[in-house]
Structures are given as C-alpha cells and as structure tokens.
Subunit: 585 residues, 2 copies
C-alpha cells in the first residue's frame, strides 16, 4: 500500500502508531534544528517533523524540497506540544523516519492557497493547479454531492435516468446549435442538443412515466459571465400528472437537497403567481429572503400638481426599515444608483418617517405632512423608516424599483448567502407579444399547455391566457422551470396557428415529435434545473464558472488546453468541408 | 390527481376500493356482453371490465377504442373469478364506471408486445414505440440501476464524480475525432472526447485523489454491430495507489453490482496473467464459465512422421467431456467450423477416448493406441471424452483453438447467459510490435507504466516488458481495462523514445498534460468500463444497441429523427465553412 492514512485522517488516538502518508509539500519552515513540513492531500494537511539532531541527512533532504513536491513519508505519530485547533489534524504531528521524494515540481505560477495571488487568466491557464486549492476543489465536491443527492431522491421516486443522444438533428427553433460534420454522411451535420426536450417528451410517449437525466447541453451563443457553451441540466419529465404533482415532487427534491447537502431544514416552498411576483417584486424571480415589497401608490399621490406622479403610468414605493437616518449623501447615492443607464429611472422620491414621528421628504413642495403620512400609512411604514418611490411607465419602473429593492436589501445585510429562500413562481403568461415582429411568442416553449380555465381566451385575448408553467427561484436566481405540455394535437395545432406557424413549419420544426404524438401521447409535464447554477448558489458563488472543473472563457476558449484549435487538412478533407474566409464588411 | 394507482399496483387487498388508473390500451376482448381491456403502463397491466348490461353507453365507448389509445378510468377493484397467476395484478380487475379517452392512436406499425412482429428497421424508425415494449424498457431500467449502483459504490469509496468537457481540443493520437466548428473562433474546431483520459490524469495532478465519471465518449470510426459513434464509459482514476489497490477497489465494485443489481453473490475475481490467458484460452478475454483449457502437446506428438504436427510451431488440444459419442457428421461440422476463413485452421485432429477405454482417432496411421493414450493422459481425458487438436503457427492456432473451445462450450450448454464468471487479466505486455511500421506501439496507451521488475529490459528487450495494465473480463467480454500511469517524466520520455516519438511530437500530442506533470504529478492509475457493454452483458443481450435508448444505425444515422441532416446555408456561413464535393476517384 502506498499510504496507510490520508493527510486529513490522523488524530490523537493514532499517537505512537507508525504510518505512511503521501501528498504535496504545502509549506516548509525551519526553526532551530527542526524542519516542519505541511503535507497536503485532498483530505487535509498533516505536519511532518524532521530533526537535524536525530537524522541530519534526512533533514537536509527535507530542506531541499520545494513547494508542491510530491513525497511519501513514513514515521511515528506524536502529540503536538502547540496544538492547532483550526486543523482537524492539529493535535498531532508525524516524526518522519523515511522520506521518499516521488516527484519534484517547478515553482507554481501562483500560490496554492485559499487566498491565492494568481489572477483569473493565470489561474485559468493553469487550471490543474487552481483546482489544487481547497476552496476550488470544495466546489467540485459540492457539485458531486448535489448531483448524487438529486439522483438518490429521484431514484427513490421511481424516476429512471435515461441517456439521450448528444449527436442529434439540428432544429431551427431556439438558440444557435453547435454542429458536427458527418464523415459517413457527407455534407450532413449532427447538432449538439440545447436540451433533451424533444427526447424527454418522446420518452413520455414511450411510457417511461418518470424520466430524468443530468444532461450536458450546448448553446452556441455569445457568452456572458454566467454562461458557458456547455452546461449541465437536471432534466425531468413525468406522465399522467397535473401541475400540482410536478410542483410537489420537485419541491420535495429541493427540500431533500437542502437537508442532505446543506443540513438546512425547509418545510415547504411558498408559491406566488407571476402577476403577484411582478406586482410585489417587479421580477419573475423575486428574492424573498427579505420583504420590502412594492406598494402601488398611484391612488394616494394624485391631484397634488406633482406632474412626475400625475403623468406616470405607475407610482410604486418600498419601505426600508430603520433607514430614516439616511444622510443626504446616502440618498444621493441611491438616486445615482437608480439613474444609471442600465436601470434608467429619472429620479428618486424619498419620504423619511423620522423616529420622532415627523416626516421629511423630497416632495414637501407638493404634499403636506398629512398627505405624506397617508402615503406612509399605505406603505405600512413605522417611525424610523425610509420610503423610496419611483414613477414612470409600469414595466420599466417596476424593474427599476426591483433593482432598488435589491440594492437596499444588500445595504441592510438582508441578502445573506447562507440564507436560502426558495419559492415557486406559477401562472406565467402563455405568450409574450413581440413588438418588432408583431407576433406572439411562447413564453416558455411551444409545447406548453395553457391553463385550461383560460382556453376560452386563446383566440380572443391570447395575452391574458395563463400557462401551466412554473419556475423555481432561490434568492433571486431562477434555478429551474418547466411546464405541463400539450398532449392534444388539436390544441397544439391551435397554439402553432396563434404563433403564426403553418402546419408545414410545425412539421419541419418539430417533425418526429409531432409524428410520435399521433400514437397515443399521455398527459405529461416536467422541468429542468441548471446544475451549474444550483451548485454556485449552494456554494455562495457569483459565477457558474467556479463550479465547473474546466470552464471556457468568454470567447469560448479553454486557455489551458488551447481548444478550439486548427485541425489538420486531412481531417477537413475526410469531412468534405472547407474553411472560408470571414466576410469582411 | 391524475391517477390514484399505477397499472402494476393493485392487489387482492384493494378489492372494493374506488381507484383511478391511466395508461395505454394494450388489448380489447369482447366476450358475451362484456368487454375486457388490458390497460398498460410502465408498472404493469390491469384488466378493465365493461358490462354491456350495466352501462351500455360506456361499454360502446370502450368498444370503439383501438390499440395504444390513452385513457383514464375510474372504477371499483373486484376479485377476478379466473385469476391470472402470471400477472402481478392477476388477482383483480377493475369494474369501470368512468372512462375518459385522453388520446387516440393511429394503429402502430408493429405490435407492442415482447415478441413483436416489427423488423429491425421499422422498430428503429419508430423507436418511441419500440421503447414501449416492456422487454426493451427493462433494458433501460437495468441501465439506470447499474449506473445508480456504480455511483453509490464509488461515492461510498470517496470518489468524486467530476464532469470533464465535451468540447475539447482535437488530438492527433488515437481514433478519429468528431469535430465541432467554432463560430466565435473562425477556422478553429473543438473535438468531442474519445475518452476523458487526459482530463482524468489532470485531475490527479490537481489532487482530486479519487475521480470517476459516467462519461459520454465519441469515436468517428466505421461502425460494427457492437459499436456506436457515441458510447458511455465508467471512467475512474486514483492517486497514490499501486495496481493491487486498483484491482481490489474495482473488484469490489463488480461484486457490489452483481449483488445489488442481479442479486448474485460473487466472492472474488480470479486473476490470470496475459501469458497464462493466451496459453490456456488463446485469448486475452477468456470465457471461464467452463474449463476445457488448452494443453500444449508438442512434446507428446513429435517423432511419429506426422508432418502436420512435426512441422507445426504449436500443437494444442482441448478435451470435451463426454463427447466421445460424437458422430462422423458432428466431427465434420467441427472440422468445417475451424476451416472457415475467419478462423483459418487447416484441419482438425480428434482422438475419441471411448467409454470402454479404447481409443479412436483421425491420426491412427501415425500413432499407436499407446501413443494416443499418452496424449489422452497429458490432456487429463477420461473415458468418454473427445480430444480436439489443432496445429500450426502459434498465435493463429491458439486463436483458432480459442474459437473451437467457445464453440464446444456453446454446444455443451456451458455458456449460460445467466451465469457470470468475471476475472482480471493482468501483466499485459507494455508494447506490441507492428510489422508494417516496424515500431513498437503501446498496447494500452502511452502513459502506461512498465512493471518495475521489467524496466531493466526496456531498452534491451522491450517486447518482454510487462505493463501494470489490467482488463476485467466477464464471460469472454472485455468489460473494462486500465493501467497504472507513468508519473516520472524521465521514464515517460524514455517510453516516448522507444515508441519513436521525438520530444516535439510528444509535446504536440500530449502538450498540456506534459506541462501539468512538471508541477508535481502523484503516482496514479485507473481504468474505464464500457457501460453499454456492462448493461448488455447483465441483460444477456448480444448487441449494445438494445441497451441504448436512441441508438444510431451502422451508417451513424438516427433513422427516427433523421440525424445527421443538411443544415441551413446561414449556419454554414456563420461558421465560415463550405461543403466540398466528395472526391471522385
């Protein structure tokens, strides 16, 4: 055996045992005639001791070792005189009697510590060294644990994991496909799946009843910080269910994950309609770790010759508890915040409900103290609170107020990364109207079932039709979403017609699924969760990149391996393709 | 709720309960005034009863239903008068009071039964219907179970599942890559991984210690029955281990799988060296469900003027127990068998050790009864046995004798699909010599460590150097294999040199792994199992195709979806590639 224990395993109970360890040299310190080495592996760090007086040759050998050398040592476990309570192995040290240097190491380009001195680019180039840092590796351990617990829960619930193909047919709907030229079928291409959507619905037609897959998906879109060309989805579908069944089952999954991965007990997930989410939070992915919900003030503010409010489609406010003490400078900061181009409010109105019960505001010119008190009452404000009001067109103002609410939440420390507030957002609209193309688009996707209560309005007022579509949201992040699908071909064709697809187009876009539906499609529905997002949320990370072992940069490049790269002429020839020069315009 | 129970759930204890079921109409039978319908879902079949006398309208509605219609029924569970002991729900039937026809179905192009009338092509085209057959679905259920138990075992053993990228750099070593043109990096391509080999070794350099992944792999090779362009590998790697550690851990995995998936107890896996496997079975993947091992007879057969034996490099025999009764016709069949071009023996020598102790053979002209008895003794034959002997060049004859042994095993019913005989084949040679290119190739791969006992012969006699390489074999099928890797750059460069790679070539082929190895590579080793093969073996199938949900045919085509297919001109333009006409030669 190469080692008898790992570097995270030895405790006080092992004292006087002879053990063999192996790992990386984290740090070497010389003190007097002693050399102390921190030996590291995945499981922890153990202190090694070499004594110049006892074995000079061995100690010299240890002194020659550099950072990240790989060694194997044999020795006796001893109690430490100065114990390190921050280290699980801090009670002991290893008095080394044999040292085997297995591999030397060049000096790493950055320190392999939780707080490294390496910049992003350097760490990406040497990702294999970055992954040695325990803070990075812990994200991968968390990822493993989440995926494992997802599988354990779904297996208990009778779901079957089925692998669907990676080499599929390119479909013109949705985002841009990555394509793969076929050598055996010249001039033809496979596509990489953007999601297993069609296949999971086929599996329902096949009677699989409960399917899931932790599936790689691919989208050839321009990348942002939180997007990767390949990402991983927890993809699920169920037959013979109604929306309620799907919500309950996956609520159960999230409760399971919090319990077994984070040791957090969550009883149930609140549900909020899309309409309420927009009304109260200005967002379909509300962060409900804190309240500060919107109050519509239009009815309280009219008729005071304040043209900003009088002309506004929407006037809404939030009440920041205990913030009446905000200074002019702080209020100016908030005003600057909402006036940023990406938020785009024209200005910010505030009402301070001072602790002594008096009221001060930026609109004293138009409103009496009594008027303002009425607004404060409508806002449920208490003495000491600060009311912040935005006005303008409804959608834009709600969006800006949403940002302001999140900003206030952050300032007040209400967005603790260790607190988790999951919920369901339900009753999404079936369609969204697109001004540019003057047509309705499916908000979720073309197979989403309308809420059967609303089908009478499908033709007369498509915009008011709600869908059986739902999102799971945690801390303001959309973790997943899905819908009950249409299983009636009559209804499906009506929806296609409303979206402006001809029969031919529908057949062209969704051909083999449409064919399959003719052979007895069961009622079914499902959803998909972003695994990368789930991990980054559980880990409290800002970007999904940190929870992917080998991510690509914003140009879709793996700087470590150098992918993508030029390939050989012979490969192109076999595939019967040529590279053309980019158009220069 | 859409249904209160599944179609496989109702038992005698449910009698008199009112339940709701949903599923597919498997079969409808009219008898007297009664209509019986078999309702099917993933979980089973339940008999529905409609009585013309009780509810004529309902019964008429039921009579209109065709095969594979999707229905929902409500009714009362009743005890069946003629119970069906072959059906888990055979004790009961459902007296239907409400019938909701959810979806009609076109008549399926083949019957949805275990024994279907559909041919291969038709079933592939309508794969979503083929998957409805419970025999096919059961393979997918088995696949799910195996993958789940692999994960459960490896998780218990502290392995982390890490997802490695699908869009990687094309490397010129190995089989042909599938490539993916990059839109963001014009003229450059990603490759799809043939295996996560480089990444898993990088993860060892990163200190992950124990890694696994159930990973999709891709090879653009011409296809045979048992190959698919995309396949799935159980990919594993460990650090700070010796061969023994790897063998023990994955022996444990196989024992776990047999226990939890097949309910078969296996105590341990025998180990056989490559040399012994070739000597005793003529194969590096011996089927050890039965004995009948080779005996080398050269020393017993010389000096009798039988030129076939005297001139042969190798003479070997097998002893078929109780087969002395074989007729001339049966012996002729065996002779024809070994003379087939793909086996290529020149002829077959037999010795019948009759039950009465007398001996008959096809070489009586050259050998006396005593001579033949000595051969029979060398073969450990008993009265009643049949000895079959082949002679010729060593490698070719051993291969032919291997085929003959398997044929005899099949004839004697010794290759029961429900019996499993796993083993390790170890001590593979490090290199194989290629006559055509006059160079040594790595038998496993270029990173495989030589057996340290044999390193003295690396330069003087490379052919005799054994590797720390091992295969797991079950029932004559190679299920997986791997090796201890080289972690010393000095040794690695020596091996590259022996394989005729220059430093530059090695750097070009394995660049970023070679770089990573400079920063403290730990000793490591691992292996990979073919998941598809594992499932097909556990299921007793002949081809891996039947355990893949949506397989491709021998032209790499998914006939159901029509992939691969032509893509739009705009897609090609965005990717800056052109299709060229195939060379016509």
């Amino acid at each position: 055996m190469f080692r008898t224990h790992t570097c995270g395993e030895l405790r006080h109970t092992h004292v006087n045992e002879t053990v063999t360890l192996a790992g990386w040299v984290q740090k070497t310190r010389k003190m007097g005639g002693m050399t102390f080495v921190d030996l590291r592996d995945r499981y922890g760090v153990t202190q090694l001791v070499f004594n110049q007086d006892v074995n000079a040759e061995l100690c010299e050998k240890a002194n020659r070792m550099g950072r990240e050398w790989v060694i194997q040592v044999k020795g006796e476990v001893a109690e430490r005189s100065n114990k390190n309570p921050n280290l699980s192995t801090g009670d002991i040290e290893l008095i080394v009697s044999e040292l085997n240097i297995i591999n030397e190491s060049k000096t790493p380009p950055f320190t392999i510590e939780d707080d490294t001195d390496g910049g992003d680019d350097l760490r990406m180039e040497y990702r294999y060294l970055d992954l040695r840092r325990s803070s990075v590796r812990k994200n991968m351990e968390l990822r493993h644990r989440i995926a494992f617990e997802v599988r354990r829960y779904l297996d208990q619930q009778n779901f079957l994991e089925v692998e669907t193909p990676i080499l599929i047919k390119s479909t013109p709907e949705g985002a841009r496909d990555f394509v793969v030229p076929s050598r055996m079928n010249s001039g033809e291409f496979y596509a990489l799946p953007q999601s297993p959507q069609l296949y999971k619905q086929l599996l329902m037609v096949s009677g699989f009843d409960r399917y899931f897959q932790i599936a790689k998906c691919f989208r050839d879109e321009d990348l942002r910080a939180d997007r990767q060309p390949e990402f991983t989805q927890i993809d699920c579908e169920m037959s013979y269910v109604e929306q309620e069944d799907v919500l309950n089952l996956f609520e159960g999954m999230m409760i399971h994950l919090f319990k077994y991965v984070k040791d957090i007990t969550i009883d149930s997930l609140p549900r909020i309609t899309y309409a309420d989410a927009m009304r109260l939070y200005g967002s379909d992915k509300p962060d409900i770790r804190f309240g500060m919900t919107f109050v519509e003030l239009k009815e309280f503010v009219g008729g005071h010759d304040f043209v900003v409010f009088d002309s506004a489609e929407y006037v809404g406010g939030i009440c920041a508890e205990g913030c009446a003490t905000y200074t002019r400078k702080q209020l100016d900061e908030l005003t600057d915040f909402v006036k940023r181009p990406q938020i785009g409010a024209k200005g910010l109105v505030y009402i301070k409900y001072e602790a002594d019960g008096t009221i001060k505001s930026s609109i004293d010119k138009f409103y009496t103290a009594d008027d303002l008190k009425k607004i404060a009452e409508a806002m449920n404000a208490k003495p000491g609170d600060l009311i912040l009001i935005l006005a303008g067109s409804k959608v834009k103002t709600q969006k800006a107020l949403c940002e302001l609410r999140l900003e206030m939440g952050s300032r007040l420390g209400l967005r603790d990364k260790n607190k988790f507030a999951p919920l369901w957002v339900i009753d999404f609209p079936l369609f969204e109207w697109d001004e540019d193309t003057q047509r309705f688009y499916a908000m979720h996707h073309a197979f989403t079932s309308p809420n059967l209560e609303d089908t009478p309005y499908l033709e007369s007022d498509p915009g008011r039709v709600r869908a059986y579509a739902y999102d799971m949201v945690i801390n303001g992040v959309e973790l997943g979403g899905g819908s009950i699908r249409i299983h009636s071909s009559e209804l499906q064709h009506k929806i296609f017609r409303l979206m402006g697809f001809s029969e031919e187009e529908a057949q062209y876009k969704f051909g083999f699924l449409m064919d399959a539906f003719k052979y007895g499609a069961p009622p079914h529905g499902g959803l998909a969760f972003g695994l990368d997002r789930c991990v980054s949320l559980f880990a409290g990370l800002d970007s999904i990149r940190d929870c992917i072992a080998f991510p690509k940069n914003n140009s879709g490049r793996d700087v470590m391996s150098g992918a993508p790269s030029q390939i050989e002429e012979s490969q192109l020839k076999e595939l019967n393709i040529n590279i053309t020069l980019p158009d220069i315009e």
